[in-house]
């Protein structure tokens, strides 16, 4: 069965020189596609989680009493939101990467403790996190002042008010825009290509460089993979949104 499948695509490539689905019949290329896809999934999941955490913490800090703390959050947002993620990746990996501690396995190499994958996670999480802070802030501002005053009257501290009253309500308002931003984040992981993170785009381009005839099939793989990944994310977010719905709250 597998033989016939491979033979079909080998023949298909012979008949159509620009549609060489090489990964279906050459194991090495198949492994590249799978490892790329797996790296993209890992990168997406980790960055989504970190960026949401950054968003929540940032939104909490924006409500801090200290002007310095609020200033720091503001500075962070301006820096990460207003510069291209492409440039951030290069800057983190090449410029900041030089100041991180390194270890040397052979006396010459200086392997930084933060790898290119590590920098990609840091950079992309902070990039999407900056947007998430603003998204959560919009949610926080939508919570009526009177609700907060009520919780204060009940003896909640500021942190407790944020954690138990404001955040659960703000989250529900924020989910639609959060959804948008996380979809964007998943797509932005392709830019990690620039610091040679072996994710799906990197592996696809490697394959079509080695086999120019495989470019169209690889592009197809890219489109389908991202449609599927983003589709799963959106479905999950929608489900979460429905399960969090409070009848009568919002619209």
């Amino acid at each position: 069965m597998l033989e016939a499948f491979q033979e079909f695509f080998r023949q298909f490539a012979a008949d159509h020189p620009t549609w060489n689905f090489i990964f279906f019949y050459e194991e090495r290329q198949w492994n590249k596609v799978i490892s790329g896809l797996w790296m993209t999934i890992k990168l997406s999941v980790v960055c989504v989680i970190f960026s949401v955490i950054i968003g929540i913490v940032g939104a909490a800090m924006q409500g801090a009493r200290s002007a310095i703390v609020r200033g720091i959050v503001q500075g962070y947002i301006q820096f990460f939101r207003n510069t291209p993620p492409f440039v951030q990746l290069l800057f983190f990996y090449f410029a900041l990467g030089r100041f991180t501690p390194t270890y040397s396995p052979d006396g010459w190499l200086e392997v930084p403790i933060i790898s290119n994958v590590g920098w990609a996670i840091i950079s992309l999480s902070f990039f999407a996190g900056a947007f998430n802070v603003e998204i959560f802030r919009a949610g926080v501002e939508a919570v009526p002042k009177s609700t907060q005053e009520a919780s204060e009257a009940l003896g909640f501290t500021r942190l407790q008010t944020f954690a138990y009253i404001v955040l659960p309500l703000a989250l529900r308002v924020s989910i639609p825009s959060l959804n948008n931003n996380l979809v964007n984040l998943v797509k932005t992981t392709t830019q990690a290509f620039v610091i040679a993170v072996p994710e799906l785009l990197y592996q696809s381009i490697t394959i079509w460089n080695d086999f120019p005839s495989a470019q169209n099939p690889m592009m197809l793989v890219l489109f389908i993979s991202y449609l599927a990944l983003v589709g799963i994310l959106v479905l999950g977010m929608n489900k979460w949104e429905r399960s969090m719905r409070i009848p009568g709250y919002g619209a």
Binding site: W108, L109, V111, V194, A196, P212
Partner: protein, 277 residues
């Protein structure tokens, strides 16, 4: 039913016409260049001294001189478009450039995509730019070691398969070389000709090219696939033949300070005019 028959007939006629024109030469690119009076050539902008930007930002190099000669011979203006290893064939396929002279190795798979015409104008092999401190002498020494490379080079895969090196392929030369300087890899796998030019530039003290050069592979220029066996392809074959015969390539090599390759001398000998003294 009648519509279906008509459609099928129309389709069959359409198919047969395509089949007929495919066999003949339409010479679209050649005619376009001649009528617009402008030849668009894709060249490298990061491969000193074959194609790079000089101090004032204009593209210069050995391959740019070759492109200029082609345009002069055709009697048209030359327009240069910088291309990357990873997009050069696509630029040609999509008609963004008419001709590609971009340090491309002549590979079987590539011949199916673009119109590669001989004789090959240059050749280079694979080698490693590596620090002297590591005292490399043999390719086997890079097993399981991180090696910087560039996306689009055909030997990345060979180095991975044959020697088990971990190739970290960057999008550009600059990033790969910076990673080597930052000691993120033990070497930069690239064309020996380019590495020699880098070493000669004096910017790589403490680095060398320690490995025996492997996989010597001729370079090819390319015209669009449809032009391969038509006027443009034949014309470029003639250009290359003449560059070999009259010593243009050897002279250009010298002009751009490239270490002389025995390949060009051999080719000149091979194509020698039997009536010449």
């Amino acid at each position: 039913m009648k519509t279906l028959t008509t459609l099928t007939t129309a389709f069959a006629v359409l198919c047969s016409t395509t089949a007929v024109t495919a066999a003949e030469c339409s010479n679209d690119t050649w005619n376009k260049v001649m009528s617009s009076g402008k030849l668009v050539v894709g060249v490298k902008a990061d491969y000193k001294p074959w194609g790079y930007r000089n101090a004032d930002g204009s593209l210069v190099g050995m391959e740019i001189d070759m492109a200029q000669d082609v345009a002069d011979t055709m009697g048209v203006e030359l327009e240069l478009v910088p291309v990357q290893s990873s997009n050069r064939m696509q630029f040609l396929e999509q008609g963004k450039i008419d001709l590609m002279i971009a340090t491309m190795s002549d590979r079987k798979d590539r011949r199916e995509i673009v119109g590669i015409v001989g004789p090959n104008y240059y050749t280079s092999g694979t080698n490693l730019l590596a620090p002297d401190a590591l005292a490399f002498a043999d390719w086997e020494q890079i097993r399981d070691k991180p090696i910087c490379g560039k996306q689009g080079a055909f030997y990345n895969q060979i180095v991975e398969e044959r020697y088990g090196a971990q190739v970290i392929a960057f999008t550009g030369n600059a990033e790969a070389k910076q990673a080597l300087r930052d000691k993120k890899c033990v070497g930069f796998v690239y064309d020996d000709s380019s590495i020699m030019a880098d070493l000669a530039s004096g910017e790589w003290d403490g680095f060398g090219m320690p490995m025996p050069t492997e996989d010597d592979n001729p370079w090819a220029l390319a015209v669009p696939k449809a032009e391969e066996n038509c006027v443009f392809g034949r014309f470029m074959s003639g250009m290359q033949y003449n560059w070999h015969v009259d010593g243009t390539l050897i002279a250009l090599e010298e002009k751009w300070g490239i270490q002389a390759t025995s390949y060009l001398a051999k080719e000149q000998e091979r194509f020698k005019d039997w009536l010449a003294d």
